[in-house]
């Protein structure tokens, strides 16, 4: 370094930043934002399936689902306060530690912040009405009104999330005509609000919240299962855990498609931002993500396979599980194969080039898309076997129906493999289009096979009731691993989304000139994420314990002999 000493551009930092004791401003805001988001994801995801469960209870005349819905909502009630508390902490930290940046945001989005608070107010009281009115508005038209309150709760919650998404996506993808010299007063609100990534983030978060809510409910049920004192209680929480896992994994299958849309929009907005995300300093993050998703797929399938042990008739499907496991493991390995990593000259020399001579072939998108689509098909097949385990279809076309289902699986797998292999021989722009055919084939298979299955299950002969509660304890720990992994994954993806802005508060508009402007490496980020997950789970555990003090659980008493049906029946 010579006299052209590289100087930090700190000329305008006076009054823009304050520091937080011990852990620093960045860590303080990181923890507050992450915990707020985790609680928010839970309180936005749970009402969605609480309303669906209540509807199944009303229209399917199955009280079990109504009770399940109420128990979901009870968890929601206390978690809601925690969401608000962490939201307030986040606002106070932002306004005191990053006052100039906060002033900038409020100058553009101030009005929407007032609307946000108002809707939050309505949402709170709708939730109180929904929960406390449960037993009062239990029958007839009043029950429908109560269900309407649940729908309204979802509308408020979704609106609140969409508003906040406008602020954060503006930080990532502000309209291109806004520059550092643009006067804040001249920025049009709607243009800033409905920016490039607003809707993709909305959809991604909407689905992600369902996944997250399902996983946390599953973990709650597994804890209650392990702590249960009676067989009836154990049966109830076994069933609840299954429902939570079913919801989480079902929504997880759709989530990558929403993520793909978001990624594409980021690339379209700014290639360099996309490259930073996928091939720049964040490239290793996706290897970690692949590992986490492999854990999710394996744990979710493992839970189902163990669960088949309590279903009479499931023995006939058991030999297939080892093949499904092989597909999942091989798929996970391919998905996790690195491709174009940033490497120095020594690493490149050791590797023999910019790509590994053998593994480089598996690291490309053709191989990865093929792997993930086959993993989704394998998981769907696990669900199907679980559904079919204790029934024997009696419709006259049952045999042909099963053959058609099998053919659909084969066709989908062949389409996925065909375009996966062909992708190696075409230009990148053509190859990207192939992923649409692969995804389309898998989704079509899932939809049509499910329709056939539902029709085929009508009047099916039962091979015996599911023995809810007769589940080994190890299966419940799989649900815990799912919840921890989902939560950690959410923290990791939050880091990716926020980190691609690098040293900008608002991408290429407002630079971060604080001492924390550099975006940390994954090692530091992982410590922050684990800390947040630990705090979140500890608080959730405490909140659920509080909930247990206040009210007894809603498990179905022994009087009911109705077999708990599968979700989807």
């Amino acid at each position: 370094m010579t006299e052209h000493l590289l100087l930090q551009a700190v000329a305008d930092t006076t009054g823009a930043y304050r520091d937080f004791p011990f852990i620093g401003s960045r860590a303080a805001v990181w923890i507050a934002a992450e915990l707020h988001l985790m609680f928010a994801a839970f309180v936005l995801g749970v009402p969605m399936f609480a309303v669906v469960a209540e509807a199944i209870g009303i229209f399917g005349k199955d009280q079990r689902y109504d009770r399940l819905s109420k128990e979901f909502t009870r968890l929601l009630l206390i978690a809601y306060s925690a969401t608000a508390i962490w939201g307030a902490v986040l606002v106070f930290l932002l306004s005191t530690l990053y006052p100039r940046f906060w002033a900038y945001l409020t100058a553009i989005f101030g009005t929407s912040m007032w609307v946000y608070v108002s809707i939050f107010f309505f949402e709170s009281f709708t939730l109180y009405l929904y929960y406390y009115g449960w037993d009062r508005w239990k029958y007839g038209r009043a029950k429908l009104v109560h269900w309407g309150l649940g729908i309204l709760l979802n509308v408020w919650g979704t609106t609140v999330m969409f508003i906040a998404d406008g602020w954060l996506t503006y930080m990532m993808t502000p309209p291109r005509d806004i520059t550092p010299s643009t006067s804040v007063a001249s920025i049009k609100f709607w243009e800033a609000f409905m920016n490039h990534t607003w809707m993709p983030i909305n959809i991604h978060r909407l689905i992600g919240n369902v996944v997250f809510g399902g996983a946390i409910v599953g973990a709650y049920a597994s804890y209650r299962f392990l702590a249960a004192k009676t067989d009836e209680e154990r049966a109830h929480y076994d069933w609840m855990g299954y429902v939570g896992n079913f919801i989480a994994i079902s929504a997880l299958i759709v989530l990558p498609f929403a993520g793909y849309w978001l990624g594409r929009e980021i690339y379209q907005y700014d290639q360099s931002m996309g490259i930073t995300m996928m091939g720049g300093f964040m490239s290793w993050l996706w290897v970690i993500q692949a590992f986490l998703i492999a854990v999710l797929f394996l744990a979710g399938n493992y839970y189902l396979w163990v669960g088949m042990g309590r279903i009479p008739g499931a023995e006939r499907f058991r030999p297939y599980t080892k093949w499904l496991l092989a597909v999942l493991v091989i798929g996970a390995i391919v998905w996790g194969t690195p491709h174009t990593m940033i490497a120095d000259s020594r690493e490149l020399a050791a590797m023999g080039g910019s790509h590994h001579p053998f593994l480089g072939v598996l690291g490309v998108m053709s191989a990865k898309n093929t792997a993930v689509n086959l993993m989704i098909l394998a998981t769907f097949l696990s669900f199907l076997m679980y559904r079919r385990a204790n029934i024997r279809p009696v419709v006259p076309w049952a045999q042909s129906g099963t053959r058609i289902q099998g053919a659909m699986f084969i066709v989908a797998a062949v389409v996925v493999l065909f375009y996966g292999i062909r992708g190696y021989f075409v230009e990148a722009i053509v190859r990207i289009g192939y992923s649409v055919y692969q995804v389309g084939a898998v989704l079509a298979c899932i939809v049509f096979v499910t329709i056939i299955d539902v029709l085929m299950a009508r009047g099916a002969q039962s091979l015996g009731a599911i023995q809810w509660g007769k589940m080994p304890a190890r299966s419940q720990y799989a649900l815990f691993i799912l919840a921890v992994t989902f939560t950690w994954l959410m923290g990791l993806m939050g880091f990716a989304r926020s980190g691609i802005r690098q040293h900008w508060h608002v991408w290429q508009v407002m630079p971060d000139t604080s001492q924390y402007a550099a975006t940390p490496a994954l090692g530091y980020a992982s410590i922050m994420i684990s800390t947040c997950v630990l705090i979140f789970l500890a608080l959730v555990g405490f909140i659920f314990w509080l909930g247990g003090l206040a009210e007894k659980s809603t498990f179905v008493p022994a009087a009911s002999t109705v077999e708990a049906p599968h979700v989807g029946h």
Binding site: M1, T2, E3, H4, L5, L6, L7, Q8, A9, V10, A11, T14, Y223, L226, A227, Q271, S272, I275, T276, G279, G280, F281, W284, V287, I288, F291, L292, T340, M341, I342, S354, A428, Y477, F480, I481, V484, T485, W488, G499, Q502, H503, Q508, D512, Q515, A517, A518, T519, P520, A521, L522, G523, Y524, A525, S526, I527, I529, S530, V533, L534, L537
Partner: protein, 264 residues
């Protein structure tokens, strides 16, 4: 019940520890902040190349695409038998010499896209200062070619120099703040010296400087850095700016000396 709680706690902690461990075992890359360049009016091509080298391999983010041979052309190594970028840049566009071609590629990348590649290069003038851009041009020219970027190309070079040397530069550092850490950050000391957990390793670590040097020696090292060179750092003689005496107020200087002397 306690056994169940402990087992759950173990599963949660074990899972978190596994993920944290894996994330810490992979290569660690931090996204650095591009630093402003303070170039003197007499900046040499070598100094520009050196600054450009740091940008290229660091905060400029160039290596994410260039060098892998897939997303964008190799710049530092041979590309299709035409040599590195400095050797081929003058032949890319007719009527454009090497300097003009590289500058255009950085600031208006869509004007000419090399055959076989997608137009994915961002306009770097949105993120880098003119000084940084010219430093990059100089560095790329040096890769197999001749560097012809001079101080006259760099728009703010002379202004930066005169500003620092004159009285106008006094108390500009950290806006006159006497907070020693603010001064250290604003004066760019952390570019070479380590203070606390921040800073580089080019110059001596200042964390225990108070145990090695008296207050008067610390003051002398700030005002006349070449008067005495710490053992082992002889080859860096002349690197530390000699302008801090002009840029710091007396209160700032004394605050800084007291702060460093207290680091024993």
């Amino acid at each position: 019940m306690w056994a169940i709680n402990l087992r759950i706690f173990g599963v949660v902690l074990g899972t978190l520890a596994l993920y944290t461990l894996i994330a810490n075992k992979i290569p660690q890359m931090q996204s650095e902040v591009p630093r402003a360049l303070a170039l003197g009016a007499n900046v040499t091509p070598e100094q520009l190349v050196s600054a450009g080298d740091q940008l290229y391999h660091g905060a400029g983010g160039c290596t994410a695409c260039h060098g892998l041979g897939t997303r964008a052309p190799n710049l530092l190594t041979d590309e299709k038998g035409q040599g590195p970028i400095g050797a081929r840049c003058g032949k890319r566009e007719s009527g454009k010499d090497c300097k003009a071609y590289i500058y255009e590629s950085l600031t208006s990348p869509g004007t000419f896209v090399v055959t076989g590649y997608e137009p994915i290069m961002p306009d770097l003038s949105r993120t880098l200062s003119p000084q940084q851009l010219w430093a990059l041009v100089a560095f790329l020219e040096s890769q197999g070619g001749t560097v012809d970027v001079t101080a006259s190309d760099v728009p703010a070079a002379s202004a930066a120099s005169s500003g620092a040397a004159g009285a106008g530069g006094a108390a500009r550092i950290a806006n006159g703040s006497t907070d020693p850490m603010e001064i250290i950050r604003a004066a760019g000391c952390l570019g070479c010296h380590k203070v606390g957990t921040e800073g580089g390793a080019i110059g001596p670590d200042l964390n225990h400087v108070g145990s090695r040097l008296s207050s008067s020696l610390i003051r002398e090292s700030i005002l006349a850095p070449d008067a005495k060179i710490a053992r082992g750092y002889e080859k860096f003689k002349g690197i530390m700016p000699k302008t801090l005496g002009d840029q710091l107020s007396a209160a700032q200087l004394e605050s800084l000396v007291r702060f460093l002397a207290s680091h024993k």
